[in-house]
């Protein structure tokens, strides 16, 4: 990520600050917005995202709940039924699992069950992903569970501006949003002014973070900086890589992804989540179904291994890194393009 150039006069802000600011602004704009979760009040959350909210808006608006995730999300359902707009914090990815039944059996399908009479404008914030040296149950990439559940939106910001803009959009949405916060980017800073937050595209729109012509890297959340770095390094090898930041897995912006792949003819999907049954499989399948005749090589995936998340001293072997992304790019059958280019140029 870039750091703020000194001469802009704007402050460098972290993703954590932008998320906190988004909550504050949403609460100030709409009295229906309530924050609840474990340690979100007095402490300001274990990541301090909710710092200051209880003080500014009172305990009734930013509430320390009993330590029970199903209870947190289950009561949020009732609050939403009564016209509130709850934002719940699940303290860590793996601690969100007790709330899974409420999420799958109620939050995701209440609108459907009631023919639209009971929409669920609930935002479920989940600090997720690895790379922070956490001991077990603190580093899961759980997005595949959520995106397999119809009725949920699944959002993962990767930049400071998106953290603010997408969280505001999630809270304003009349549909439930699982908001995956890449916790290893919490402290990544960017050129962003909290007093004048820039407009970002809404939920469901992917963004090309780096234009390129050779191949497309498709990613989201904590893997975006890895892909941007890989694209920089690849330039030295003669590859001009395009980087697409999905920003939301549901809705999935097929249009932007397919337009990019049709231009470049090659694609690699990069994420921390396991490869087998992970989002990359679905994305690769969709690209293959829709862009088959534009593809010069099979769509490859760089994903976490199909193992329980490793202990912190071994996690570097598990997480997709620049080298692994470049290795995948190298396997995109460049020989065949060379051959076909040569063929088209009449050299053979």
């Amino acid at each position: 990520m870039t750091t703020a150039p000194v001469d802009t006069g704007r402050k460098a802000a972290s993703m954590a600050q932008a998320l906190g600011r988004a909550l504050r602004d949403a609460m100030a704009d709409d009295p229906a917005v309530h924050v609840l979760g474990e340690d979100v009040g007095t402490l300001g959350g274990v990541f301090r995202i909710t710092d200051g909210l209880a003080k500014e808006f009172g305990e009734d608006r930013c509430t320390d709940t009993p330590l029970a995730e199903a209870g947190i999300l289950g009561t949020a359902v009732g609050m939403a039924m009564y016209g509130l707009r709850p934002v719940v914090e699940m303290q860590f990815d793996a601690f969100a699992y007790p709330a899974f039944e409420q999420l799958v059996s109620h939050v995701s399908r209440m609108r459907n069950r009631t023919r639209g009479a009971l929409p669920m404008p609930i935002t479920v914030r989940v600090p997720y992903g690895g790379g922070i040296g956490g001991v077990e149950h603190h580093s899961d990439s759980s997005e595949a569970y959520y995106l397999a559940t119809p009725g949920l939106h699944v959002v993962a910001p990767a930049t400071v501006a998106d953290a603010y803009g997408l969280l505001r959009a999630a809270i304003a949405s009349d549909d439930p949003v699982v908001f995956l916060e890449p916790k290893r980017l919490y402290w990544a800073k960017d050129d962003w002014d909290p007093e004048h937050p820039e407009q970002v595209p809404g939920i469901g729109r992917a963004v090309v973070r780096r234009p390129g012509t050779s191949a497309t890297l498709i990613t989201y959340g904590p893997s975006l900086p890895v892909c941007v770095e890989a694209a920089r390094a690849a330039a030295a090898e003669g590859w001009d890589l395009e980087v697409v930041d999905l920003r939301s897995l549901v809705p999935f912006d097929e249009e932007t992804v397919c337009a990019s792949v049709r231009r470049t003819g090659r694609a690699v999907v990069v994420h921390e989540s396991t490869g087998f049954g992970g989002p990359g499989g679905e994305i690769a399948a969709r690209i293959t179904e829709r862009c088959f005749h534009h593809l010069e090589a099979p769509v490859l995936r760089v994903a976490g291994f199909d193992i329980p998340y490793p202990p912190p001293m071994l996690e570097k072997h598990h997480l997709p890194d620049v080298d692994r992304v470049l290795d995948a790019v190298a396997r995109l059958q460049w020989e065949s393009e060379w051959t076909s280019n040569e063929y088209e140029s009449g050299a053979r």
Partner: protein, 389 residues
């Protein structure tokens, strides 16, 4: 003081200064289920209330037998009967004000009907033409909940939200004896007590969770005793004694409305029918046991009281039975009409705004239906959105 601030915040103190935060004695349920019928206290009961309860019970029983019959006629996919539990169902509905909310489980359609809901709407889930056949806001009845006890935290959240907004709304949540073993039961009661939410939890202890008897479900002295662990009062009541259930629930509702917090009520009753029409109850209980409970039937108990006090004569009994027959005939006739189905509605309520994927899938289904000539309504023969088969 905000809603959530509480006097005397609990902080653990080192021994020997430790003492319980609250005196548990007033929270404890009575040793015996509370009864009114057949006791001296029954003489003081309001005749109007007794007649009202009686009419509801008679119609409720007829509703149960009619719904069960509709399963045999293929008009309901399944029906979990509340025969024998009508006193709980009816009392739960009658103690609430219009602005209050009821949170039923799948066995509690009668409570929704007693609250004023059209029985056809209440039975939509069980007929299978949609999941929830009514707008929950219309009668303040949450969707019938199938995953056990998961509706209880919803009741807590709704009641809490109402209190935050300054509305004196109470939520009454229904659950069975089996449901008390679920984690959501625990979490809901804990949240309710900590937040002092205006909620009443009514456990209809009907003896069985499908086939599993209460002894295999809990080692607690009673289900009502569980309340003490959360710091709320527990009440034990004879679930077949309609005025007793009505009184205990009324007290709990008033207490909740006055800011006194939640109550757990255990009503001891019995599921006279099998779990559903698909269940065979002879595999896990004896006819003798069922007959013992039939002798303690909620309608017969109330009828005995009303006749003893000469509040009900033969013609009044016949009039109530006739009213119940008319209700059943109307229900039967309307349930024998095929419901209108719109397959395209499958895609309508998934999100506020349809995703591109869903638009594509809707177009596929529309094309399939058009090709098969099965698309109902004005869309038939219209422009096709997808490739025809």
């Amino acid at each position: 003081m905000t809603v959530l601030e509480q006097p005397g915040s609990y902080r653990p103190t080192p021994p020997p200064a430790w003492q319980p935060r609250t005196d548990p004695a007033p929270l404890l349920p009575d040793a015996e289920p509370y009864r009114l019928l057949g006791t001296d206290a029954a003489d003081g009961l309001d005749p109007e209330l007794l007649r009202r309860l009686y009419g509801h019970l008679v119609r409720g029983r007829r509703y149960n037998t009619q719904a069960t019959a509709l399963t045999r006629q293929g008009r309901l996919a399944v029906y979990p009967s509340s025969t024998g539990q009508e006193a709980c169902q009816v009392a739960a509905a009658l103690v609430l004000e219009d602005r209050d909310w009821l949170f039923p489980s799948y066995r509690d359609t009668l409570a929704a009907v007693a609250r004023g809901m059209d029985p056809v709407q209440a039975l939509t889930l069980l007929r299978g033409d949609w999941h929830t056949g009514y707008d929950p806001h219309e009668h303040r009845v949450a969707p019938l909940c199938t995953p056990l006890a998961t509706q209880l935290p919803h009741a807590v959240g709704l009641a809490h939200a109402a209190r935050l907004k300054g509305d004196d709304v109470v939520a009454l949540a229904l659950v069975g004896d089996g449901g008390t073993s679920e984690g959501d039961f625990h979490e809901a009661l804990n949240f309710a007590a900590v937040w002092r939410a205006p909620v009443v939890f009514l456990v209809q202890n009907n003896g069985f969770a499908i086939s599993v008897p209460l002894a295999k479900q809990t080692a607690a002295p009673s289900l009502a005793h569980k309340a003490v662990g959360y710091g709320m009062p527990g009440r034990l009541v004879d679930g077949n004694d309609a005025p007793a259930v009505h009184e205990v629930l009324s007290e709990a509702v008033h207490r909740a409305r006055a800011g006194g917090g939640p109550t757990l009520v255990e009503a001891v009753t019995y599921r006279i029918d099998a779990h559903t029409n698909a269940d065979d109850a002879t595999r896990y209980r004896t006819d003798v046991e069922v007959e013992t409970w039939r002798a303690h039937d909620p309608i017969a108990l109330l009828e005995r009281e009303l006749t003893r006090r000469k509040l009900l004569d033969e013609s009044a009994i016949r009039a109530e039975a006739d009213a119940a027959e008319r209700m059943a005939a109307d229900l039967r006739e309307r349930m024998h009409q095929d419901p209108a189905l719109d397959p395209m509605e499958l895609f309508t309520h998934v999100y506020a705004e349809q995703t591109a994927q869903l638009r594509e899938q809707a177009a596929q289904l529309r094309a399939e239906l058009t090709a098969a000539g099965e698309l109902p309504g004005p869309q038939a023969g219209g422009p096709q959105e997808g490739r025809q088969r």
